[in-house]
Symmetry: C2
Subunit: 171 residues, 2 copies
Amino acid sequence: MSLRYALLGLLAEEPASGYDLAGKFERNLRRYAWHAQQSQIYPELNRLAADGLATLVEQGPRGRRTYAITDAGRIELRRWILDPNDEPIVRNEHTLKLFLLSTLDSQEARQVLQQQAESSLKEHERLRAAIDEASHTGQPPVALFAAELGARYFQTVHEWALWALERLDNT
Amino acid sequence: MSLRYALLGLLAEEPASGYDLAGKFERNLRRYAWHAQQSQIYPELNRLAADGLATLVEQGPRGRRTYAITDAGRIELRRWILDPNDEPIVRNEHTLKLFLLSTLDSQEARQVLQQQAESSLKEHERLRAAIDEASHTGQPPVALFAAELGARYFQTVHEWALWALERLDNT
DNA sequence: TCCTCCATGTAACATGTTACATGATTTC
DNA sequence: GAAATCATGTAACATGTTACATGGAGGA
């Protein structure tokens, strides 16, 4: 059901069409939090509307349908976020590969770690720049918490990869 | 297909039964890397064997069936790990909730952040203790890389949650 | 006019979840 | 002898993926 709440959460920020939501998933959620395809989003949006958690607020050009969250939707969303689920679902292909590093020989492991060190540094810098830029726009601080977590996460992965490479060399 | 490679990876470390693999998922992978149910593992193990990537090596009491990875399995596993997939799948219910924090009022956000600060500290300490204990057993350093990443990850989340709480209070 | 992007959807298939079914072995 | 744990599986259902289908609007 997480997809449902991800959509509800995005709609809680501002009204949006399925197309908009697919873009937000792609830009904001896919890399860290939740992956969803466009073909999943449209049917779920319609179910959300059928269940009274979202409502169609505008029809635009090219058949564009803009939805907003309803009061019932906000209540349901809040309930879900505040519910302390101690067995949340985690699936991360990247991390899985890092867990399986010990099945490679050390030259191959080095290759994976080097790729990792590079890509996490790049992600870190991209997020830092985005945060810098957004911090001038007068948003409430909470709006940048997620980006800050992302930036710190990629920095951690970067530092870890360098540490692991060093340990591998001293063997 | 990630489940398939997760199983192959675990079998690359040592031969195991479906029951063993379910336990390894639960203890090692579920929280950070990949989630899988016991009811998914058994059929996939059988498919792995049918495809020649794993092979039945022992039948024990209570119908226990121990599998080992084959050479073809190792090749396939290595191919997958080394393949730099730049759009890996990420699904993390926990992180998703953190991304939706800005849809809550500040008192509710504080509540979520406090829970988060606490649970990440606990996880961090648990992993540090496990690493400490394992570091005396003379394993190759690479065997502890994943645990180290996990420990650093939870420390990062912990520090971030404290930082976010502070920022929330200064508003 | 052509190309790109906007925009919504469906169908077939693969993967993942929940609930159930069954029984052996070990430990207290 | 009762309870916990080991052990493998299936069936019905929910969720997610890939490929396809369709067409409007805006800019070069």
